[in-house]
Amino acid sequence: MISTIIRTVILYVVVTFAIRIMGKRQIGDMQPNELVVTLLISEIAAIPLQDSNQPILNGVVAIFMLVVLEIIVSVLAMKSFSVRKLMSGKSVVIIKNGAVDQRAMQSVRMTVLDLVELLRQQNVFNIDEVAFAVLEVSGDLSVMLKSSEMPATAGDLKIKKAPECLPLPAITDGKIIKESLSALSTDEKGLLEILNKEGVDVNEVFLMSLDRYGNYTLIRKDGAVI
């Protein structure tokens, strides 16, 4: 039983390491080859766990070999369009200039109901509003609305807006995040000044987000939002 526990821990570490090396992706966003490798890794890891006669090294070597192949293929795919096309396929334009390309739909075996469902997932309920729709390799549908159907932007309305800035968590659970402060080009002193102004101690802060213009949101541990 102890050996089973040790084997499980080893394989857990190996599989986590393998998936980590391959990169962060959700199952739905995986390319076909990535999905195959992920499925194979889980299957291979299960064999030495189920059969204690199997040496664990066999499983580890097989998992590492799959990771090596996956990395090599992904690097080749980055360098060469043909490899990328071969391994992952290519995007297909389903709606072009407002017209549905039925031949393209047949080539990807997509029914009208599938198309309508995918459009609804993009908050498009009327196919007539669509100028272009592209079925991506991941299976998602990218939609571009006709210009008459696009919502007006600040640029269209000629409204001046403050430039975008990313608020970062400066304090979480009473702890100052120094990396955020250096990214915001400020220091602890400036942060403590804000806290003094609000009459809040660092230890009382549940979350404080700050942007580079000094705008902040402060949530105290008692739930009060400042």
Binding site: I21, S52, N53, Q54, P55, I56, L57, N58, V61, F64, M65, V67, V68, I71, I72, S74, V75
Partner: protein
């Protein structure tokens, strides 16, 4: 190209494991097969005392080999060789010629199977 570094390290680990694993397993199997052949010759030439000693020695040697090859070889095959070697020792003590020869063949087949698993023979791929 930086992305290929982890792949290179893993590949190195894989090749080292495969290469040194093959050498280690082949060496242990070959040594045992040679000792087994000499034991069989002793037994056939009615040199029973030498065969008895030889059988005990092979069992001891195999126990030491087990430790070295256990991370690389299926446990069932290791146990099969172990069982056959003990069967040979039992057969020699109890003067059961059939038992000795049967277990000799079983041990030989299991040892060859262990060596084949690490080899590049076509049969081992499929």
């Amino acid at each position: 190209m930086k992305r290929l570094i982890p792949a290179g390290i893993l590949l190195l680990f894989i090749f080292c494991t495969a290469f040194f694993g093959k050498i280690t397993v082949k060496k242990q199997c070959d040594n045992t097969l040679v000792s087994l052949e000499s034991l069989k010759n002793d037994y056939i030439s009615e040199n029973i005392k030498s065969a008895e000693k030889g059988a005990e020695l092979i069992i001891k040697e195999w126990k030491a080999s087990e430790v070295r090859i256990a991370p690389l070889v299926n446990r069932e095959l290791i146990e099969a060789v172990d069982g056959s070697l003990k069967g040979i020792a039992y057969g020699i003590k109890n003067e059961s010629r059939g038992n000795v020869l049967y277990n000799y063949i079983s041990a030989e087949i299991a040892l060859q199977q262990i060596a084949d698993e690490q080899s590049l023979k076509l049969a081992s791929f499929f």
